[in-house]
C-alpha cells in the first residue's frame, strides 16, 4: 500500500507541474465538471458526447460493432504503416517483399497475418454494424444523413480491402483483381475509360500496382478518416444512438 501512496503523490506532483498543466488544462477528473472537460477539452475525445444514456452502453444495444470497426481500422493503420517499411510497389519486387516478410523480417509473418486478418474482420464488422443499425431502426430521423455517411464508409472499406488485395502481386491477387476490373468494363459507355483510369492502362501491370498502392495507402485511408470523423461527430449531434425498446 505504501507504494501506491507513493505513486499517487508522485502523480499528484506531476499534475501540478507547469508542463503537465499546459497540456491538460483541467484538473483531475474527479468532479462532473472536470469529467466533461476531459472529453470536450481533449482533441482525441471531443467527438464523443460528454454524457451518454446508460442503456446505450449495454452490449445488446450495439454489440460495440461500430467501435470494433473503428478499432480494426486503427489496427490496420498501424500494421499497414509498418508493412510500408518493407514494401516496394513494383513488379516483381512487391512479391519478393512478401517472401522477405515471410523468411527474413523478424515477426514479418505475424505482421502480415495481423494486417490481413484485421482487413477481413473489418469488412465483416462494418457489414454487421450496418445490419445491426438497420434492425434497431438507427437510420430513422434524425439519423438519416449519418446512415448515408455510413454507406460511404462501407464503400471506402470495400475499396480499401480490394486495392490492398492486389499488393502482394501473387496469382491470387492478380486474378482476383482481373475478375473485378473486368466487371467495370461492362458499364455502358464509361466502363472502359473508368477501367483505364483505375489501371493506368489496359492491363494489370506496373501502373495498376502503383495506382492501387497510392489509393490503398494514401487516398482511401484519408477518405476513411474524414468520413469516420463526420460519422462520430454526427452521432453526438444527433443526440446519441438509437436503443430499441426491448433492449433496455
Amino acid at each position: 500500500m505504501a507504494t501506491t501512496d507513493w505513486t499517487h503523490q508522485r502523480l499528484e506532483q506531476l499534475r501540478q507541474t507547469r508542463v503537465w498543466r499546459s497540456i491538460f488544462r483541467r484538473g483531475p477528473a474527479r468532479t462532473n465538471r472536470t469529467r466533461s472537460l476531459a472529453v470536450f477539452g481533449n482533441f482525441a475525445l471531443h467527438t464523443l458526447p460528454v454524457k451518454v444514456r446508460e442503456k446505450s452502453l449495454s452490449v445488446r444495444a450495439t454489440y460495440y460493432l461500430g467501435s470494433i470497426s473503428f478499432f480494426l481500422f486503427v489496427v490496420l493503420t498501424i500494421t499497414g504503416v509498418l508493412l510500408m517499411f518493407y514494401y516496394h510497389p513494383a513488379v516483381p519486387d512487391a512479391y519478393r517483399d512478401m517472401k522477405d516478410l515471410i523468411y527474413v523480417v523478424s515477426n514479418g509473418v505475424f505482421l502480415r497475418n495481423l494486417h490481413r486478418l484485421a482487413a477481413h474482420a473489418m469488412v465483416v464488422a462494418v457489414f454487421w454494424h450496418m445490419f445491426h443499425v438497420f434492425y434497431r431502426g438507427g437510420y430513422k430521423p434524425p439519423h438519416e444523413f449519418n446512415w448515408v455517411i455510413g454507406v460511404g464508409l462501407l464503400m471506402v472499406t470495400l475499396f480499401l480491402s480490394y486495392t490492398g488485395y492486389l499488393l502482394p502481386w501473387d496469382q491470387l491477387a492478380f486474378w482476383a483483381i482481373t475478375v473485378g476490373t473486368n466487371i467495370i468494363s461492362y458499364v455502358p459507355v464509361l466502363g472502359r475509360p473508368i477501367r483505364f483510369l483505375l489501371l493506368g492502362g489496359h492491363i494489370i501491370g506496373q501502373n495498376a500496382l502503383l495506382r492501387f498502392y497510392v489509393l490503398h495507402c494514401v487516398i482511401l485511408p484519408l477518405a476513411a478518416v474524414g468520413l469516420i470523423g463526420m460519422h462520430f461527430w454526427r452521432i453526438q449531434k444527433d443526440g446519441g444512438i438509437t436503443v430499441r425498446d426491448d433492449h433496455e
Binding site: A29, R35, A38, V39, L45, L48, P49, K51, V52, E54, K55, L57, Y64, S67, I68, F71, V75, V91, P92, Y95, K99, I102, V109, F110, R112, N113, H115, L117, A118, H120, F131, F134, Y135, K140, P141, P142, H143, E144, F145, W147, L158, S161, Y162, W169, D170, Q171, L172, F174, W175, A176, T178, V179, G180, I183, Y186, V187, P188, I203, I204, T242
Partner: protein, 232 residues
C-alpha cells in the same frame, strides 16, 4: 345552470409573447421525440473504460488468430496462367455468383448500383416510422401485392435457373406468409415474425440472399464455376 368557463383557451402565434408550445404525443413517432432520456452516465470514465475493454478483447482475439492462421501467398503473378476458377475477394463472390446466371450488364452493373442506391435511400424512404407489422391490418390488397411480387421474382429467377437466389427467396417468402395465416399463434418465434414491418422483411430477404450467394461462391464453386463440395 350554464356556468361560464373559469379558464380560457386561446391560440397565440406570437412566439415572443407566448414562447411555449404544447404537443401531445399519443403514439410512437419519430426518434426525435424522446419519451424519456433515462439515466445518463459521464462519458469519462464510463464510455472510455468500456471502449478500452472492447479494444483489448479485440486485440487479444486478433493476436491469437494471427499466431495460428497464415495469410496466403501463392506463386508470382503470371498473366499467362489463368487459374480455374479465378475468384474475386470473398465479399465480391456473391456478385460473381450472380454473374454466373445473369448477363454482365445486369449482374455486374445494374444490380450492384441498385443495391447501393437502395441502401442510400433507406432512411428517406421508410415512412413507416411506427414500425407497423406487415400483416397488421390483414389487408387483402397487401397480400395481393405480396403474392404478385413473389410470383414475378419466382418466375424470373426460375427462367434464369438462378436457384442459389431462388432458394433463400422462397424460404423468406414463405416465412413471411406464416404470420398471416397463423395470427393468433402462441409460439414466441411466430409472434416475433408477426410483429415485423415490411422493411424488416425486405432487409432479411436481402441478407439471406447475400449470405447464400457469398457462401456458395466461396465454398461450393470449382473449375468452370461448377458445383463442388468443399470437403471433396
Amino acid at each position: 345552470m350554464s356556468e361560464k368557463n373559469t379558464f380560457e383557451v386561446g391560440l397565440s402565434s406570437d412566439a415572443v409573447k407566448h414562447p411555449r408550445r404544447i404537443v401531445f404525443i399519443t403514439r410512437k413517432t419519430s426518434a426525435k421525440v424522446k419519451e424519456e432520456v433515462g439515466p445518463q452516465l459521464m462519458s469519462f470514465p464510463h464510455v472510455i473504460l468500456r471502449e478500452t475493454i472492447a479494444f483489448q478483447f479485440l486485440a487479444i482475439v486478433l493476436v491469437v488468430l494471427a499466431l495460428f492462421w497464415d495469410a496466403p501467398l501463392e506463386q508470382l503473378a503470371n498473366p499467362l496462367l489463368t487459374p480455374n476458377p479465378a475468384k474475386a475477394p470473398w465479399y465480391f463472390l456473391g456478385l460473381q455468383e450472380l454473374l454466373h446466371y445473369f448477363p454482365p450488364l445486369v449482374a455486374g452493373v445494374l444490380l450492384p448500383t441498385l443495391v447501393v442506391l437502395a441502401l442510400v435511400v433507406i432512411p428517406y424512404f421508410d415512412i413507416n416510422i411506427e414500425g407497423e407489422p406487415l400483416w397488421g391490418h390483414r389487408s387483402s390488397r397487401r397480400m395481393k401485392i405480396y403474392l404478385g411480387v413473389f410470383a414475378v421474382l419466382f418466375v424470373l429467377l426460375a427462367l434464369y435457373d438462378a436457384w442459389t437466389v431462388l432458394v433463400p427467396t422462397v424460404l423468406v417468402g414463405v416465412f413471411g406468409l406464416v404470420p398471416y395465416f397463423l395470427p393468433t399463434s402462441e409460439s414466441r418465434f411466430l409472434k416475433f415474425l408477426g410483429s415485423q414491418p415490411l422493411p424488416w422483411w425486405v432487409m432479411t430477404w436481402f441478407i439471406a440472399v447475400a449470405l447464400t450467394l457469398t457462401a456458395v461462391g466461396t465454398f461450393f464453386r470449382g473449375p468452370g464455376w461448377s458445383w463442388v463440395w468443399p470437403w471433396s
